[in-house]
Symmetry: C3
C-alpha cells in the first residue's frame, strides 16, 4: 500500500500525511522540531498564527472521535484555517453517494486539506490518490492500518522526556494485532533508531508477522517490562471479548494490566503512555494512570502542536514564522 | 405567494432571496456578475473578504443537506461572518416551540441573515414576512416550491460555458412535478431570455400547468434532447417509486436515463448538469457523469461564489470591493 | 456546596461563575454594568471585540439546549474566542470515560474556559474544583441547582426597565421546587436588595424550606400577583404531570396560567418575563406572551451581552475597552 511518492514530493517535502511507513527519519525529526516551535505558541496568551489563513480544512470523521477530532479542530483554529466539519456517519453518504463522489464534491468546494478518519484500512491512501494536485490528505486513523499523527505525538512525548531514541527500550502492551496506533508507533520508533522496541501481548493478539516488524516479542508482561524506559499501553477494545480472542476483563487485567507493582520492573524513571481513552482497571490501574510516571495527559496537549506542525509543513512552512499574527 | 416587494426594497435592491419568481433580469445578471468577482477570490491563495465581518448568519436546516449547507457555510466563512448552524431537526423544536417562536427567539439573538431549508413550501416567505426590518432571509430550498440559489449557480455554470442565453436550447429532464430545483431553473431561464426551455418527463411527473410555465413539453427523451445546448438532469427521488408514480429504477433508466448514446442527440458541445447527489445508473449513466461534457462538479464550486454574491448584495455590496482583507 | 473562594480570587475578582449564591452585590452590579457596555456593541454594525482572541472556550452540553447554547456561542464569537463545541450526550463519554477523565483530557487541550450544562446538581462545582489554576468554569445549568447566567440576564432585563431594585415587588410563578432558574433568580434578587420577592406555586411544587429563602410564599396566583412590578413565569416541565405532582395541563392553566385578566392584578406597568421555551396555553396565555408588557424576547437579546460580560470579567476585563477591534 505505501507509495512514498504519494506522501513526499520530488524534493522530499511532505505533501500528504498518510502513514509512518514510507517516511524517513528526516521528515519525522522535522515534524518533531516544528511541533516544538508550536508548543511555545500554545503556551502564550495569544495562541493564533496565520499559517492557514484563507485555507479551508475539511474534517471527515466516518468513525466517532472526541480526542482526535477536537485536537485537529483546535490545531486548525490556531492556524487560522476556515473549517468544515462533517459528521459523515450521519450526513454525507445518506443519499447513497460513493466515497469517491463525496470526495469529489467536497474537493469542488475548494477544500485545501482533508482530515479523514474511516473504518477501512487504506481509505486515506484512496483519498490521496484521487485528489487534485495541491490538495492534501491527512490520515486521522484508517481501519487497522495506521494512525500517524497519534504516533508522532507519542514520539514527541518520548523525546520531550527522554531527549534521544538511540538508547531507549520501549514496550508496547496490548492488542497489537488490531491496533493502527501500535502499527504506526512501531514504524516511527524504528525510523528514529530506537534501541529496542518490544511488543507484549497474548498470542491471540499478536500479528502473525510480528518478528518481521523489527521488534522483540513477549507474551509475559513482567518479563517484557524489565528495564524499559517507556511503557505504552494500548486501549483494549471490549468487542474483542465477544470475539473469543480474550477470556474476560478481569482475567485480562490479571495477566496484562499495568499495576504499580508491575511498573516497578521498568526503569525507575520510565514514563507511562496511553493513546486514550483508557479503560481504568482493565489495561491499566487507576493509580498508575494518575501517578507521577504517567504522561498521558501531556500526550493530548502535544497532539495539538504535532497536528499544527504536520499541517504547516504541508503548506510549506517549517516551524513558526515570526511575524504578524492572524 | 410571490410578493415582489418582499424581495426587493423601494429602490429595487435585494432584501431577501426567496424565489426566482418575482425577480427580474437585472437582479439575476447582477448576481451572476457579482459571483464572477468572487470566483477569482476563491482561486486566490487567501480566500477571505471582510464583507460580513461582525454580521451573524444563522443556518437553519430542517431537512438534511451536505452540499447546500456546506457551500453556504464556506461562503459565510469566506465573507468573514459569525456563523450559528443549527441542526433544527434534532434541536430547536424539541421542546415544542412553533416555527414562529423559533424565528423570533433567534432573531432576538441579533441574527442578521437567516438561511433556511424547510420541508414546507412557503416557509422562507413565512420567515421573511415576520422578521424585523434589516434582517434578511435566504431560501435554501422550501418544500416543492423553489431553491433559488441552486438555480443561480446553474445559470452561472451555463453562462460560464455558453456566454449568452439568447440562442440556447436547454432541456430539464426528470421529476419536474416535485422538483423545487426545476421550478427555480425554469423561472431563471425565462427571465434571462433563453431561446427555448424544454421539460422532459413521464406524464406522471409533469406538472398539470406545464404549458403555462413557458416551456416546451416532451415525454420522449430522445426527441427532447435533439440539438439542445444544455442538458439538466434532475435527481430521482426514490420514494416516488413507492408512490406508484414510476415503475422501477431499471425501467426509469431505460426510458429517461441519460446514456452516452442518447447524449449524442444533443449538440456536440452540449454540457451536462445535475444538482446532485446523482443516482448513478438511474437517471444518469456513470460514464456521462464522469465524461468530458459533464460540468457537475463545477456547479458545486460555482455554488460558493453565487452564495457569496447573494449575501453580499443583500448587505449592499455589489461585487468584490478592493481593499483590506479580513 | 457554595465555596466563595472558588468563585472569587483573593482580591474579590471573578474566577469561575458557578452560582449566584456565594456572590455579592458588587459583583452582580459589575456584571450588569459590563453587560450594558456590550449591549451597545451588539447594536453596532460591527459586533466584534478582541477580548478572547487566542483563548479557547469549550462548550460542554450534556443536556440539549438551543437558546442557552446559541447565545453562549454567539457571545464567544463576538469576543473573538476559538470555540470547541461538544455535544457530549452523543460523543465524549461514549467510550465510557468518567466526567473527570473527560474534563482532564479537554483541559490538556489548553482550554481556557469551560461552559458546562449537566443534569447533575453540583457538576459545575465539581469541574471548578478540578481544573488547573487559570482555567475557568461557567455554569450553564446544573441539575436543579443553579443557572446563574440566566438569572443575570433576568436581572439585566429588570434593571433595564425598572432602573432600581429597592422598591420592586417581583413574583416568580410555577415549579419553584425543581427550577434551577428560580433558585438563581431568588438569590440574585435578594443580593440586589429587591423590596419583595414572592414565589407562587401549588404546594406540591414549593420547596420545603421556602420561607428560609427570604421570599413570601403564595399558593393563590391572583393574590400573589397583586401590585407586583415584575412577573416571572417558569416553564412547566411536562414530565411533572406524569409524576403525579400535577393534575393536567388544562387544570394547571386554570389555576396558575398567566392570562391577560390575571395580569391586571399586577401594576399597570408590570413586565412579564419567561426564561423560555414557553408552553403557550399552559403556563402563559399566547396574548400575554405576545402582548406589550412581555419582555421575553428582550431577555434573549440581553443574554448575549450578559454572557459576554461574565466571560470578559473572568479574563480580567471589566467593560468594553476602547481600542482596536479583532
Amino acid at each position: 500500500m505505501p507509495d512514498n511518492n504519494l506522501q513526499l514530493d520530488e524534493s522530499g517535502k511532505l505533501r500528504h500525511f498518510l502513514s509512518i511507513e514510507g517516511l524517513n527519519q528526516e521528515i519525522l525529526t522535522e515534524i518533531l522540531d516544528t511541533a516544538e516551535s508550536f508548543t511555545s505558541v500554545t503556551d502564550r496568551t495569544i495562541k493564533k498564527v496565520p499559517i492557514l489563513r484563507g485555507k479551508t480544512v475539511a474534517n471527515l470523521f466516518f468513525e466517532a472521535s472526541t480526542r482526535t477530532r477536537s485536537t485537529f479542530e483546535l490545531a486548525e483554529q490556531r492556524l487560522s484555517a476556515d473549517i468544515l466539519s462533517l459528521n459523515v456517519t450521519t450526513s454525507a453518504t445518506v443519499k447513497g453517494e460513493s466515497l469517491l463522489d463525496t470526495l469529489q464534491n467536497l474537493e469542488a468546494m475548494q477544500i485545501d486539506m482533508f482530515v479523514i478518519r474511516h473504518q477501512d484500512s487504506g481509505s486515506a491512501y484512496f483519498f490521496a490518490q484521487h485528489v487534485r494536485p495541491g490538495v492534501s490528505v491527512l490520515n486521522a486513523g484508517d481501519g487497522q492500518h495506521e494512525h500517524p499523527t497519534q504516533a508522532m505525538l507519542d514520539m514527541y512525548t518520548i523525546r520531550h522526556h527522554k531527549k534521544e531514541f538511540g538508547n531507549l527500550r520501549v514496550a508496547i502492551v496490548g492488542d497489537i494485532l488490531h491496533s493502527r496506533v501500535a502499527r504506526s508507533q512501531i514504524h516511527a520508533l524504528n525510523l528514529l533508531n530506537t534501541a529496542e522496541v518490544r511488543i507484549i501481548a497474548p498470542r491471540t493478539l499478536l500479528p502473525i508477522d510480528a518478528e518481521s516488524l523489527g521488534v522483540s516479542v513477549y507474551e509475559d508482561l513482567e518479563a517484557g517490562l524489565k528495564d524499559v524506559d517507556v511503557v505504552i499501553m494500548l486501549r483494549l477494545q471490549r468487542e474483542r471479548m465477544r470475539g473469543a480472542l480474550l477470556p474476560s476483563e478481569k482475567e485480562y487485567f490479571r495477566k496484562y494490566g499495568l499495576s504499580q507493582e508491575r511498573l516497578e520492573r521498568a526503569r525507575p524513571d520510565a514514563i507511562v503512555m496511553h493513546p486514550g481513552p483508557a479503560n481504568r482497571g482493565v489495561e491499566i490501574e487507576s493509580s498508575v494512570m494518575d501517578g507521577n510516571q504517567s504522561v498521558i495527559l501531556q500526550q493530548v496537549s502535544f497532539g495539538i502542536s504535532v497536528r499544527m506542525a504536520v499541517m504547516s509543513m504541508i503548506v510549506g512552512q517549517s516551524g513558526l514564522q515570526t511575524g504578524t499574527e492572524a
